[in-house]
Amino acid sequence: MSGKEQFTIERLCQGLSQGKLLGGKCVKCRKIHFPPRPLCDKCFSDRFEQVEISPNGKLLTYTIIHIAPSQFQAMAPYAMGIVQMENGLKVPGMIRDVAADKIKIGMSLKIMFESCIPTSNWPQWPRYYFKPA
């Protein structure tokens, strides 16, 4: 990887745990990848620079989940959506701190990070959620 430090999914997670949403911008074709990947799917370049993504975005679509997997059962019903961030990237996640009937497509949301509680050694993905901006 041209001697540079790799921008891996693991690094993205470290960023998230410090409250930063990081994307990998392809040095050659400028495509921003989220999550970052080792090989650009557009031009096959393996060189990326880290870019910080604005935490604000707009809601593209949503659902209210009533039947949840065991881990989330205590939280149900809860809202999940896909949010388009200001730079165009799309990020899915839970929507909190707003009543279900106040959720509207197009509303402004902001991403919030939770401290990552490790459930196992690997994988250890962080959790985040969206709330009204």
């Binding site: 999914i9 999550p35 593209l60 679509t61 949503y62 659902t63 209210i64 989940i65 009533h66 039947i67 949840a68 997997p69 065991s70 881990q71 989330f72 059962q73 939280m75 019903p77 809860y78 999940m80 959506g81 896909i82 799309k90 990020v91 899915p92 996640g93 839970m94 279900a100 497509i105 994988p123 993905w125 959790r127 985040y128 959620y129």
Partner: protein
């Protein structure tokens, strides 16, 4: 229309679909295999069948992987090469595609292909979790997403973009339950009203209980051969004349469109081109209605109507028995049931029955061309096959 088929179906089998208490996947698969053998008396399974491909999604259900060899054994086919394919809910659609390649390559002249899943002994919470494994782990599963949730995201987007309604979706459920009520192997053989569907409890808004497919046990299988060998085994083969398969990002959020499945459109394009056919040529179809919105999107992706008009097509009754293009005459995943690994070849089983005039009370008169559309996960895999009466 192409003259030369790719491969020919000479037989097919389906277990009963439903809550098959006390039966293991291998026993259910044996039931499907037995029907396929009985339907084709000229076939000597041990001598003639040269390979097996089996779709199976999850080892979590029975704590049992390595399904290819297991099913070959329980179908009485030791020691043929046997391989499992996994592509979530499109596992046996992918198996069919693989089996077709095996025959076309000339390596195996008669091949069994099928699928199996045993699900109902697990709690709904567990099944929800296992199914979610077919979605992206870090950004979907780990954040609380479920399968009904992913399709609900598409439904909300479709409603917003095209004005599709909850009633349009309920109409699909009513139709598929009507069709399922005519299928003695369906999981839930009962008709429902629009009101029942629309007032049922919410699973993942806007999807309610009757928008969701069933958690089901079941198995299905087909026997394929080279077209030139078909007449050795049967006078009424069904030919496969088009095949398509495509992939997409595992995460729904990474895709350009939230109201259409790019992989399904691509697979359909390949299959239509190979068959030299157009959507208008199709008489009957079995589409992947894991949720009612998925059937509406399937109409659009397959070209049965324009983008955004799937709800209308259902509303006008065009896809009901007696309509212009009956869809899911088996009852679909909604009413026949959705043992995920078995679904792809179960769809082909229904087309086989229809095109050989054996669909009894749900027979579509003079059906000549059929299509199957099998989708994995939220659309990261799709397979489309086109069939012609032999």
């Amino acid at each position: 229309m192409k003259d030369k088929p790719l491969v020919s179906l000479i037989s097919a089998g389906l277990s009963k679909f439903g809550k098959l208490e006390g039966l293991y996947a291998r026993e259910i698969f044996a039931e499907a295999a037995k029907e396929a053998y009985e339907r084709c008396p000229k076939l000597d399974p041990k001598k003639d069948i040269k390979a097996l491909y089996v779709g199976h999604m999850g080892e979590s259900y029975e704590h049992q992987g390595h399904t290819g060899a297991t099913m070959a054994d329980w179908a009485g086919l030791l020691h043929i090469p046997a391989t499992r394919t996994e592509a979530a809910c499109a596992s046996s659609g992918a198996a069919l595609r693989t089996a077709l390649q095996a025959v076309l390559s000339g390596l195996s002249d008669v091949v069994m292909v099928g699928g199996v899943e045993k699900m109902t002994h697990r709690s709904t919470a567990d099944v929800t979790e296992y199914l979610a494994m077919a979605s992206d782990f870090p950004f979907e599963q780990w954040q609380g997403m479920t399968f009904p949730g992913l399709y609900a995201l598409m439904a909300t987007a479709h409603m917003h973009e095209y004005g599709t309604t909850e009633k349009d979706m309920a109409t699909v459920a009513v139709k598929n339950h009507y069709h399922g009520s005519l299928n003695p192997k369906a999981h839930m053989q009962k008709e429902i009203t629009l009101e029942t569907a629309m007032t049922s409890r919410v699973v993942a808004w806007p999807l309610k209980l009757y928008d969701c497919s069933l958690i089901t046990d079941g198995a299905s299988c087909l026997i394929l051969t080279k077209p030139e060998l078909a007449s050795k085994f049967t006078d009424t083969p069904v030919h496969i004349v088009g095949s398509g398969q495509a992939s997409d990002t595992i995460g729904l959020y990474e895709r350009e469109s939230l109201t259409s499945l790019a992989a399904a459109k691509l697979a359909a394009k390949q299959a239509y081109e190979m068959a030299d056919m157009k959507p208008e040529d199709i008489n009957i179809a079995e589409v992947h209605d894991c949720f009612t919105i998925a059937e509406i999107i399937a109409y659009e992706d397959l070209g049965f109507c324009k983008a955004g008009e799937g709800g209308k097509l259902a509303e006008e009754g065009e896809t009901r028995l007696g309509g212009r293009i009956p869809v899911n005459t088996s009852g679909g995943l909604k009413s026949k049931g959705h043992p995920v690994g078995a679904t792809g070849t179960a769809q082909a089983y229904e087309i086989f029955l229809q095109l050989t005039g054996q669909a009894e009370r749900r027979q579509v008169k003079d059906a000549e061309i059929g299509l199957t559309h099998n989708v994995g996960g939220s659309g990261a895999t799709a397979t489309v096959h086109i069939y012609r009466r032999g």
